[in-house]
């Protein structure tokens, strides 16, 4: 199966030519965004085993700064991306320092609370558009506004970012840092006794994860041209990252990608088929499938495939 990695890369590169048309490209963009966010989350939520359910705080910060730069100073939105990364970094330190003394669910709860706090606060803050939110340039002034008529440029920008995130994760996996993360996930006490700097490592993972998540948020708001508290900091944003990563397989390089590949088309298809009917069937199916997967494949699809693939292989060899 040496062919599979290049094949995958080729598939992603040529997807816009396989399924053509703005709607399919937009789904491609949505898929890439889900994959980027979930991969970013995966660094701290998967590899370090610190399940954050408040990653929307980084996503939201990243989403707000570009439009804020445009709104306040008329700068091209993309100029706000580094600012978003910096603020997210600071936020990660502020959150990580106290909460990483805690274990297990406390970290999850604390992240939910901080994200909610920020969401409500941003909703009352006039400078950042309060409840109404911020808009980007309706029509791009020049190419550097990154306001394209077509979805295609977004697709390739997002794809490039995904490649960077995955490559970084790949390098992390192989490094000493990655080894520390696995040790912490396996058991903090044991890791500490082996001399792993537990809190520093967790904090580093959170910082890395926050920066990438912030970039994902920036991509979202530049592409959508709009941000408000709910779509930036809402709990559903965080939950989506967790679900995508967990469904595909957390703490694996391609898990989030698999999760996004399953979930985004599933969401699109159920919404296309049942959304217009308005019976809520979209969510009943969506929720039901998540429950079933959690019940029968708690390790995610990646793990499932590892069970199934060898058996399939054997059968095909036997035939």
């Amino acid at each position: 199966m040496k062919w599979s990695l290049p094949a995958l890369a080729a598939l992603l590169l040529f997807y816009p030519f396989i399924l053509t048309g703005p709607f399919y490209w937009d789904i491609g963009v949505a898929f890439l965004l889900a994959a980027i966010s979930a991969s970013a989350w995966n660094i701290v939520g998967g590899y370090a085993g610190q399940v954050s359910v408040g990653h929307s705080m980084f996503f939201g910060v990243g989403a707000y700064t570009p439009l804020l730069f445009y709104h306040l100073w008329g700068l091209p939105p993309v100029a706000g991306v580094p600012a978003g990364m910096l603020v997210s970094l600071a936020l990660a330190v502020a959150i990580g320092m106290p909460t990483f003394r805690l274990q297990g669910h406390y970290f999850s709860m604390a992240t939910i609370a901080v994200a909610e706090l920020i969401r409500i606060f941003v909703g009352t803050w006039d400078l950042v558009g309060a409840a109404i939110g911020l808009q980007g340039p309706a029509v791009g002034r020049a190419w550097w506004d990154l306001t394209f008529r077509s979805e295609l440029p977004y697709y390739y920008i997002f794809l490039a970012v995904l490649a960077v995130v995955l490559y970084t994760t790949f390098e992390v996996e192989r490094s000493r840092f990655g080894y520390y993360l696995r040790a912490i996930k396996a058991g903090e006490r044991a890791a500490r006794s082996l001399g792993v700097p537990v809190r520093a490592t967790k904090l580093k993972a959170l910082m890395l994860s926050a920066v990438f998540t912030s970039v994902a948020g920036s991509l979202y708001s530049i592409k959508t041209g709009f941000i408000d508290p709910e779509s930036g900091f809402g709990i559903l944003v965080s939950v989506q990252m967790v679900i995508v990563a967990a469904l595909g397989g957390a703490a694996t390089l391609f898990g989030p990608l698999i999760g996004a590949l399953l979930l985004v088309p599933l969401q699109t298809a159920t919404n296309t088929w049942f959304g217009g009917g308005g019976s809520g069937l979209t969510y009943i199916l969506y929720g039901g499938i998540i429950v079933l997967l959690a019940r029968f494949e708690p390790g995610g699809m990646h793990e499932w495939w590892q069970h199934v693939a060898p058996r399939l292989m054997r059968r095909s060899h036997a035939a």
Binding site: T99, T124, Y283
Partner: protein, 285 residues
Amino acid sequence: MLLAQVIVGGLLLGAIYALFSSGLTLIWGMMNFINFAHGEFVMLGMYVALLVVVWLGGGPATFGFAAAFALFVLGVIVYASLIRHVMRGPMLAQILSTFGLALLLRYTAFWIFSANFVSLPQVSLSGTLNVGGILMPVPQLVAGVAAIALTLGLHLLLTRTTVGSQLLAVAEDRNAAMLMGIRPDRMQALAWGLAAGSAGIAGALMAVSYPWSPSVGETFGLTAFVVVTLGGFGSVPGAMYAGLIIGLIQALSAYWLGPIYKDIVVYALFAALLWLRPQGLMGKA
């Protein structure tokens, strides 16, 4: 006088918070398991109350018990069919399972009852009590007192009865409990039943004075998390104090600073507490 009125309002609301959070804390403490569908249990309790009133014409006592019973059964079913299988799996699968369950329950209710807001038809509870100039609406008063009584009842059940000590034994050490002849599976099913049942009856009590639609569970769920974390997980009295305190903080900050700041104050205090006392008010360090 106005201040006293604000305080009373906050405490009455806090009492309900206490009741529906005590179920969440029970599960969390016993199994180290977060139930993201807890708010949905409260929501279902509200609809059970509505059905009982509309179909059977029952009063508050009837629909309260009906909601408790129906949700108890649901809690046991959820445990047996889902939780039992994921509880020793990865933490992510646990989170995923109850997230999915929350969506499933919310939108099944949506499907059956539609998105429209409903409220209980005027039940026998109405009127206002005037105690020394402080006005107390009877429905909220009854609900608040009942909520505190039930929360205390749950606490007594856990601390003063054989069943309670068996539950706690399973929470402390599953294997040791098994050696003592306790069947952990049964005890945990019971815990889920009690947790969902208390959420259900809290929903029924809320329904008396609060109009709702299927998406109401989200708000309740988030509130319950804050209450439980503040109170210290696993601690029913902790949840009670935390519920009352949060009700009070919300009311006072809404009155002094303005209603939009009440949640900001609650979450900010909560974040501060995580710095200072991460184990919660009544939690074990």
